[in-house]
């Protein structure tokens, strides 16, 4: 086991960097595991790590059809925050943020979690009231929130358009502990840490069937052969419907594409994460200097990791009305992630009607920041059979029962978000 440190970087540098070992093994699948996790993205890898670390369960395989971290963990806008207000979401994201705050030491991997502060701007009295309500929920949860008036925003973000903007800035809700992290590194850090505890990470291994006998899961069929398992977890946001269908399940999920954008590198100019309130636009600047920003869903069911111009243009127009100083920054790359959209906009971490089969899906557009708590909660559920207290409301049957978690208030039907 090779620990990473500044000293290690130094000694390796002196010896030509020839001594670095593989960050994780590339094992062949064993015939049987205690737990098989379908999906080698952030949530699946984190689940494996917390199974090993919190519960001592290490006879675990993570099956990934492509390369580790090939899904949304590597194609998001990297924002980490705990600013929800519905009970059920609030405690979960609060827990996640606390895990983020110790992640580097936990994993011995620098995921560059940067608590640079997040500001949600509001542009009307009604929006202010909604954000005040949210901020008070954050305080009640033990997290941090500060209400900024227009002048307070101006002091922090003087480059916003405080002149003749169509929707003037009334103020903002400031979340100092919000920020960003280096997305790929999160996957790699969890992968390396889980691997070091003995978890088998198996890439290029697509699950083609889920074996169920007498109402109990017994294993999976894969492109690399059959693998028996006592427990199987489906952690495949973006493909949840297809994987669940292998077990005969129909999910309350529609898949949508969400685009994001990065500009060419620029010297530091935006020091926070900023979110516009009258259009879909949020932005931060990466440590490399690119402005990383995104907007709303393209709004049609899609499995193509790419989008179309109407939303691109909306995002750019919103950027121009909010902070016209970025006009001359040039968009370098755009990409799309496939979002598991649930009817109420909140996730699902639950058992299923099949014994030993677990489901983690429905992350909508908020999966990245949830990775640590999601892995923690799912590992707890798999290990103990009981939902973790922070994720107890993420139930699969809540749509049928009406115990909804509609944070945005846009409706608990598809496509109203």
């Amino acid at each position: 086991m090779m620990r990473y440190s500044g000293f290690r970087v130094f000694t390796q540098g002196l010896t030509g960097n020839t001594g670095w070992r593989a960050a994780w093994r590339k094992p062949a699948p064993k015939p049987e595991y205690d737990v098989v996790i379908i999906g080698g993205g952030g949530h699946g890898l984190a689940t494996a790590w917390y199974l090993a670390k919190n519960h001592g369960i290490t006879n675990v395989a993570v099956l990934e059809k492509g390369y580790l971290g090939s899904g949304n963990i590597g194609r998001n806008t990297t924002i980490v925050r705990a600013n929800y207000f519905l009970p059920g979401n609030s405690e979960f994201y609060s827990h996640s943020l606390k895990l983020w705050e110790g992640l580097e030491r936990d994993l011995n991997y620098n995921v560059m979690h940067s608590q640079r502060g997040l500001i949600n701007l509001f542009h009307s009295d009604g929006q202010r009231d909604a954000f005040v309500r949210r901020g008070n929920a954050m305080l009640a949860q033990g997290d941090d929130a500060v209400l900024l008036d227009r002048e307070g925003v101006r002091r922090m973000l003087p480059y916003l358009d405080f002149g003749q903007a169509r929707f003037p800035i009334y103020g903002g809700l400031y979340h100092p502990r919000g920020g960003t992290a280096r997305h790929d590194a999160v996957a790699w850090g969890y992968a390396r840490a889980a691997d070091q505890r003995g978890v088998d990470l198996i890439e290029n291994c697509e699950v083609t069937g889920i074996d169920v006998e007498n109402g109990r899961v017994t294993g999976v069929q894969t492109t690399r052969g059959m693998i028996r398992a006592k427990k199987v977890a489906m952690v495949t946001a973006g493909r949840s419907g297809q994987v669940a269908a292998l077990a005969g399940m129909r999910l309350p999920i529609e898949s949508h594409v969400l685009q994001a954008f990065v500009t060419e590198g620029l010297k530091p100019v935006i020091d926070h994460v900023i979110s516009f309130g009258m259009g879909h636009f949020y932005i931060s600047q990466s440590d490399k200097g690119g402005l990383v920003f995104g907007g709303d869903l393209d709004f049609y069911a899609s499995y193509a990791a790419r989008g179309n111009l109407p939303m691109v243009e909306h995002v750019m127009e919103a950027g121009m009305t909010l902070m016209p100083m970025i006009g001359r920054a040039k968009v370098l790359r755009s990409w799309g992630g496939i979002m598991d959209m649930s009817p109420d906009g909140s996730p699902i971490i639950d058992s299923t009607g099949i014994e030993g089969l677990y489901l983690n899906c429905g992350w909508n557009y908020g999966g990245f920041k949830a990775v640590p708590a999601s892995g923690w909660a799912l590992a707890h559920l798999i290990a103990t059979g009981q939902p973790h207290e922070t994720a107890a409301r993420f139930r699969l049957d809540r749509f049928a029962t009406g115990h909804l978690l509609d944070e945005e208030g846009t409706g608990s039907q598809h496509n109203l978000h």
């Binding site: 129909r250 069911a301 109407p310 749509f399 608990s412 039907q413």
Partner: protein
């Protein structure tokens, strides 16, 4: 993406509002059991491939059922809901 409005012909995606799978056309009766309503409101095939979904052409007010591919974004057919 371009969709043919049955009234207006091929138009840019920006002119349409999306409302998801065509399942929403099959509204259960008031007294249907709860699972029928759960199916109707929430559960989806969500196919990676051909699907049929609902789009509203805002300029003219026509609801359109569109057959298209969720992987390639190819639009195969479009017809008015009524």
């Amino acid at each position: 993406m371009r969709i043919s409005c049955p009234c207006c012909g091929p138009r840019d995606r920006r002119e349409f509002t999306y409302y998801g799978a065509a399942d929403y056309l099959n509204r259960p009766a008031l007294d249907a059991d709860a699972s029928a309503w759960d199916d109707y409101l929430h559960l989806r095939d969500n196919p990676a491939g051909e699907t049929r979904d609902l789009w509203y052409h805002d300029p003219c007010g026509t609801w359109v059922a569109v057959t298209r591919d969720t992987v390639t974004h190819a639009v195969i057919a479009a017809e008015a809901v009524a």
